[in-house]
């Protein structure tokens, strides 16, 4: 049964990619895109219910492995991919109407969108650390051409940087994977099973510590480039600012999580082998540095999408820090923060996309008075900003609160650093978004109805997670945190 459920989950976006590669230039391509994403989402729900109820599962000759930890990312990925496809339907039509995109570019966009979802889902569900690498690289390749979709000099530069930096980064991750295999082969013997995470997890105490230490450094630097950890982050703001908005939303909301999932999986093995907190400490260091650098970079930003890209670096840093601390509470908080960050950040990008589309610019000083132009976009952006800044009662507050109280308890020295950085981020973002939403403007109202159902649906979910965490969900996340130790 699990084989079948997983097959449906993975084959739906693959089929979607194939269908849209053929029919991507038809009038109904956008609807087909949403339909395939919806089907993927349904498959993810079925799989999730199954795994949450009956625990970790292996499928297809142990090549795939799903437990409570990665299934939450599967569900999140499929959900945000679906809502983003809903958002992109009118958004991309308007871009086409403005003459920014041709039918051929949209054709590319739709097929790559589905294949990108497919690559992420494979990276999440595979049990083989080698296949994780292959799928992560595939996820980069499918998005490179999407970042340069507009073919402007700036978007080409951003895509080139993204390609080269993530290419190099991920090559280092491959070296780390090779070292991991080198260590594992001595324990598990040659052949396929030495890269399977479930097998590695069973024998992690016997793996050679020095090799694993080195392997983790390469894996962290490699996958960390994709997570956007400072100092490896320089591709991220460019790619988010210059790519089309739906791509920014899925990059920020989903791809960064998937890369972090690979880091967390490696961390479990390495800390198990070393019987120390080496991997966790490294993650905490990188995470903290990312939070601080990103928070203070926010002040200098003039481009609205760039600013929110830096905010993603900040939040990924916070999540990395949480997973680095480890333990049931911090891991729980890290997972919760991943969830609410994905939902909130994609909602913000949707609202920002419409605001930029309306004013024809991404420069914040030229966007003013959104509430007069389009109240829904304005409120969407304002509420999203409140949520991402960790204002109660939104869910981000809950997860940040948990992370900071754990830090206070376990690593008190880190608390002031975190609080100052979060305060700086608050001042920077709020100061810049406030005039955008409430300022005066002479612009006319939007000529088209914006697609804002996804924005408010996401924000409602984030609000709900802040007010009341359903026991089902809390129980599920707690089990996942227990699995990761």
């Amino acid at each position: 049964m699990i084989d079948l459920q997983l097959m449906v989950l993975l084959l739906t976006p693959l089929l979607g990619g194939g269908l849209l590669a053929v029919f991507g230039s038809r009038r109904w391509a956008a609807e087909l895109n949403s339909l395939m994403s919806f089907a993927t989402f349904l498959a993810a729900v079925v799989l999730t219910v199954r795994v949450v109820e009956s625990g970790p599962q292996v499928a297809f000759n142990e090549q795939f492995f799903i437990d409570q930890f990665n299934v939450f990312l599967v569900a999140l990925t499929a959900f945000v991919a679906f809502t983003t496809s809903l958002f992109s339907r009118p958004y991309m039509r308007i871009e086409q109407h403005h003459g920014k995109l041709s039918v051929g570019m949209l054709h590319l966009y739709y097929s790559m969108y589905q294949l990108f979802t497919f690559a992420m889902l494979v990276a999440l569900t595979t049990n083989n650390m080698g296949i994780v690498w292959v799928a992560m690289e595939a996820a980069t390749l499918t998005t490179v051409l999407l970042v340069s979709l507009y073919r402007t000099p700036a978007s080409l530069e951003a895509a080139w940087k993204y390609f080269i930096l993530c290419g190099v980064g991920i090559a280092l991750a491959l070296f780390g994977t090779i070292l991991l295999y080198f260590a594992a082969e001595r324990v598990l013997g040659e052949g396929g099973s030495a890269l399977l995470w479930t097998h590695l997890n069973q024998v992690k105490g016997d793996l050679e510590p020095t090799v694993l230490k080195l392997a983790f450094i390469f894996l962290l630097v490699g996958y960390g480039t994709k997570v956007g950890l400072v100092p490896l982050h320089s591709w991220l703001p460019d790619a988010h600012a210059e790519g089309p908005t739906p791509v920014s939303a899925v990059l920020s909301g989903l791809l960064l999580n998937v890369a972090l999932c690979a880091v967390v999986r490696s961390k479990v093995l390495v800390d198990g082998s070393l019987e120390s907190h080496f991997a966790g400490n490294l993650m905490m260091g990188f995470g903290l540095l990312s939070v601080v650098v990103a928070a203070f970079s926010l002040f200098r930003q003039k481009d609205i999408k760039r600013m929110f890209a830096y905010s993603s670096i900040e939040h990924m840093g916070l999540i990395t820090f949480a997973f680095g601390m480890g333990g049931p509470v911090a891991t729980f908080a890290g997972m919760l923060h991943m969830t609410v960050h994905s939902l909130t950040k994609s909602a913000i990008f949707f609202a920002v996309g419409h605001a930029a589309q309306k004013t024809g610019t991404q420069l914040m000083e030229n966007i003013r008075g959104l509430l007069q132009v389009s109240p829904t976009v304005g409120w969407g952006l304002m509420l999203g900003t409140f949520a991402i800044l960790g204002m109660p009662p939104f869910g981000v507050f809950a997860s940040e609160f948990l992370i900071i109280t754990t830090a206070m308890h376990e690593y008190p020295w880190s608390t002031p650093i975190l609080l100052i950085a979060l305060g700086a981020a608050f001042a920077a973002i709020f100061g810049k978004v406030q005039p955008i939403v409430f300022g005066e403007t002479t612009a006319k109202p939007l000529p088209h109805p914006p697609a804002l159902i996804p924005v408010f649906a996401h924000l409602l979910l984030v609000l709900m997670l802040g007010l009341y965490m359903p026991p089902y969900l809390a129980d599920w996340y707690r089990q996942a945190a227990a699995l990761l130790g």
């Binding site: 690289e137 595939a138 895509a159 090559a171 070296f175 070292l179």
Partner: protein, 220 residues
């Protein structure tokens, strides 16, 4: 104990791999750079073949064949066609002059050997001591990527980096599982196609393949 002949041969090939990496680092003609890349691929294929022969790992024959097909024939051919159509011959100036690059390269080799020392001590199999050389050639390719200005040479450096990784995989661990290797090969192939598309887009937009045009995106 005398060193077995096959191991001597693999050591020789490893040295050759490193030498080619250095040669690529100093080469400024793009055509010769691609030829060197093909040579490196050939060395890699041969060493994979020898490892396959001496350890009896049959799946390594497939990787050797795959390397030969992809990295000695297909990719260099694609790159040759690309530079012909784009009409680029020289990588005008490297960012750091060549003697300095060489010195940095030597420092990198020493660094990699130090880094790999604890692993080399654990080595027991036929070829496990070679991981230092693999790491060195990876880092040399990385250095080449950083010091080049032309998009084509950056890509050749990227592909050569992948060669170093493959060498690590075959020499240190007798090859990754075949499904992983196939996946990696597919990714490399697709990446090269995308690079090709990019060359044309970049040239169309900037009228040259010089990546120094692409330094506009800054925070300030």
């Amino acid at each position: 104990m005398p060193i077995p002949l096959t191991l001597q041969f693999i050591n020789l090939l490893a040295a050759l791999l490193l030498l080619v990496a250095f040669a690529m680092l100093t080469q400024r003609r793009i055509l010769s750079l691609i030829n060197l890349f093909a040579l490196q691929g050939a060395v890699l294929a041969l060493s994979t073949f020898v490892v396959a022969y001496s350890t009896g790992q049959h799946h390594l024959y497939y990787s050797a064949g795959l390397t030969l097909l992809l990295k000695v024939l297909l990719l260099p051919w694609l790159l040759h066609r690309l530079i012909q159509r784009l009409n680029v011959r020289w990588d005008v100036e490297t960012l750091i002059n060549i003697p300095t690059t060489m010195l940095v390269g030597i420092a990198l080799v020493i660094f990699s050997f130090n880094l790999a020392a604890p692993i080399t001590q654990l080595a027991e199999g036929l070829t496990r001591g070679l991981i230092g050389i693999a790491l060195a050639s990876v880092l040399l390719s990385l250095l080449m990527m950083l010091t080049r200005r032309k998009a084509v040479s950056q890509v050749v450096a990227f592909l050569s980096l992948e060669n170093g990784l493959f060498f690590a995989a075959t020499s240190a661990t007798q090859g990754m599982p075949l499904v992983v290797e196939l996946g990696i090969a597919l990714d490399v192939l697709v990446a090269t196609f995308i690079f090709g598309i990019f060359f044309f887009q970049i040239r169309e937009t900037f009228d040259s393949l010089d990546i120094t045009h692409m330094e506009k995106l800054k925070d300030d």
